[in-house]
């Protein structure tokens, strides 16, 4: 009994200490779940003789909470556009200056001076996409490029609509439909938006993030959706089509950045440079099924992605609207509208 106890204690001590073993040649990446191509990671591991640990989070806010507490042990994170701005403001990101690295010339010029990181001193593009909606053209065969389908639906779509359960996405769509500005602090206009949403809500079936499942199971015929998810849903239900509403739609971008307290700073910088290579960016796109921001990656991307209308915007579509975060009073106003809507 005593020797077994000793053996167990020794084994436990070893297991507990196991984490601190390899300090050299490591990289700890913290990314969204199911968003990193494992083959791309293997390629990086071989090229630079580094062991990569990949962990996942489910939202920008969870990642921010952990990073704010400090000493997470992560080197690389992949925040959304507004989150980069927040983290730079709080001093959580290292100024690794990707704009001075050798692969920087591959970054598409239109993604260099972005409002969340002008000149790209902290981050580089990872994947970007749009948020509009998908509709089944077998159910409705009229012009789909208008937000009226969500807010004033025709007979055949009433009660067959899913909206995203996201305050900003729903309210911004309402603002665009009424022609009002984003980050709207005007109470009158927001009241109109609330009425519009309440009126339209009776025709909505659900408000849920799992858009792919809802569309492919036939639960709904129209869903507010991200373009990558729309493409994956279309693979299962070919009559679905992604709309580019003339009133406008949201654009978003996830970016790769290095934490200020990263334990493996050099490897993190190597990874940033690695991600700006067109071939590697294409590997990410092929896995996550979204566009990257790196020129020259088209020749490495899957055929079906290059011809997909979800990825390649049609000529006459309006430019995506990258919404900035709003001041606190506006967020409070939005929260009031959202709470009333969800009652």
């Amino acid at each position: 009994m005593k020797t077994t106890m000793k053996a167990i204690s020794a084994a436990t001590a070893l297991a507990l200490a196991g984490g601190a073993a390899h300090a050299e040649g490591e990289l700890n990446i913290y990314n969204w779940g199911n968003y990193t191509n494992p083959e791309m990671i293997e390629k990086f591991e071989k090229e630079h003789d580094v062991t990569v640990n990949l962990d996942s989070y489910d939202s920008n806010e969870t990642m921010l909470a952990k990073v704010q507490a400090g000493n997470t042990g992560y080197d690389v994170v992949v925040p959304g556009d507004y989150m980069i701005k927040v983290m730079i403001g709080e001093g959580l990101l290292a100024e690794v200056k990707p704009n001075e690295m050798e692969n920087f010339e591959n970054v598409d010029p239109k993604w260099v001076d972005v409002w969340w990181d002008e000149g790209r001193n902290y981050s580089i593009p990872y994947q970007w996409g749009t948020t509009a909606f998908t509709v089944d053209t077998a159910v409705y065969d009229g012009d789909i490029n208008t937000l009226a389908l969500m807010f004033d639906p025709p007979e055949e779509l009433k009660g067959r609509i899913n909206m995203l359960n996201d305050m900003n996405d729903v309210i911004n769509a309402g603002l665009r439909y009424l022609g009002y500005g984003r980050c709207n602090g005007n109470e009158e206009e927001m009241r109109e938006v609330l009425e519009l949403l309440l009126e339209a809500k009776q025709h909505w079936r659900t408000m849920d993030y799992s858009t792919i499942e809802k569309l492919t199971s036939g639960d709904v015929d129209l869903s507010q959706n991200w373009n990558g998810a729309a493409m994956r849903a279309r693979a299962q239900r070919p009559t679905l089509q992604y709309a580019y509403p003339k009133e406008g739609f949201t654009g978003w971008m996830d970016n790769v950045a290095v934490l200020a307290d990263a334990p493996n700073m050099e490897n993190a910088k190597l990874f940033i440079n690695f991600m700006m290579d067109p071939e590697n960016a294409a590997m990410t796109s092929n896995f996550a099924r979204y566009a990257n921001g790196i020129t020259g990656s088209e020749e490495f991307m899957d055929e079906e992605m290059l011809s997909a209308p979800e990825i390649v915007m049609p000529e006459d579509a309006p430019a995506p609207d990258f919404v900035q975060p709003c001041p606190q009073e506006v967020v409070d106003l939005y929260n009031k509208v959202w709470t009333r809507l969800k009652q």
Partner: protein
């Protein structure tokens, strides 16, 4: 009953029968319906999960045909395998230490005369149950971050310590319940026969307590395996557990690999419970 007058005896017998019948819950109207409704509500989602793990289609809601491809994919998927293994590792260590601590706590706080601070002791032992989990998660994160800063020591030990802490009350409850059922007479008999406290514990208390300890350990294991919020906050690089992996993948679309892994976990749990049930059955004799 023989010396009571016949009329009274008949009345008493009838009353006894009536009392016995009305006490039998299973014979009450609506019991079957309520029972089946509960079973459906609890297990139907699980059954659907298991069935769809054999679905050939990538979607988790549309059935096409039977296939084992998701089991192959799950086993080959490094992320899922590592996450599952990490979950089991952390759960085993946490169960081991929390059961020991809970046993000690139960022995100290039950079957004794009321002592000062007993209420406080209960409060401290059961604290993870009383405070919202997110509060425990954030405070643990802050504490560990401070410790890491001061000592520079990292590793999976932090996660295991956090799990041990919140598993203790779950292990404590069944052990305490079992202990309260045991009177002190056997231990006193042992003491009368010149047994030392340690011998009394080893040969009398522990074997009698074993069903409670096993129940507590099982509960602690399941709770640790299941935990999301605390693990989400405290886990460091390379310490992703299975629930965290699944949560992270939810936003971007789940595949039936998740179903396959979950079915394997459910299978292992059922097996574990069966084995323990048989062992307990043997031990009762």
């Amino acid at each position: 009953m023989a010396d009571t007058p016949p009329l009274a005896a008949g009345a008493t017998a009838r009353a006894t029968r009536r009392r016995i019948r009305s006490r039998d819950l299973k014979a009450m109207p609506g019991f079957k319906a309520a029972g089946w409704a509960c079973i459906f509500a609890l297990y139907l989602p699980l059954v659907v999960l298991v069935i769809f793990s054999f679905n050939d289609n990538r979607s988790v809601v549309k059935w096409t045909e039977f296939s084992l491809r998701w089991y192959e994919a799950a086993i080959e998927n490094d992320g899922i395998r590592n996450a599952a293994w990490m979950s089991v590792k952390v759960a085993l260590v946490a169960t081991f230490f929390s059961t020991i601590a809970a046993t000690m706590a139960a022995l100290a706080t039950t079957r004794t005369a009321a002592f000062r601070g007993q209420g406080l002791a209960y409060g401290i032992i059961n604290q993870p149950l009383m405070i919202p989990e997110i509060v425990t998660a954030i405070s643990t994160l802050s504490l560990f971050s401070l410790v890491k800063q001061l000592t520079g020591v990292t590793g999976v030990g932090y996660l295991m310590a956090a799990h041990t802490a919140f598993c203790i009350p779950f292990a404590y409850m069944p052990i305490r319940a079992r202990l309260e059922d045991m009177t002190l007479t056997l231990e006193q008999a042992g003491a009368d026969l010149y047994a030392t406290p340690w011998q009394t514990f080893r040969h009398i208390t522990l074997p009698l307590l074993m069903p409670g300890i096993l129940a507590g350990a099982m509960l602690a294991f399941v709770v640790s395996l299941d935990d999301v919020i605390i693990t989400l906050m405290v886990a460091g690089p390379g310490e992703t557990t299975l629930p965290i992996y699944i949560l992270g993948a939810l936003r971007r679309g789940i595949t039936p690999e998740i179903n396959a892994v979950s079915t394997i976990l459910v299978g292992v749990s059922v097996l574990l419970v069966l084995v323990l049930f048989l062992v307990q059955g043997k031990m009762k004799k």
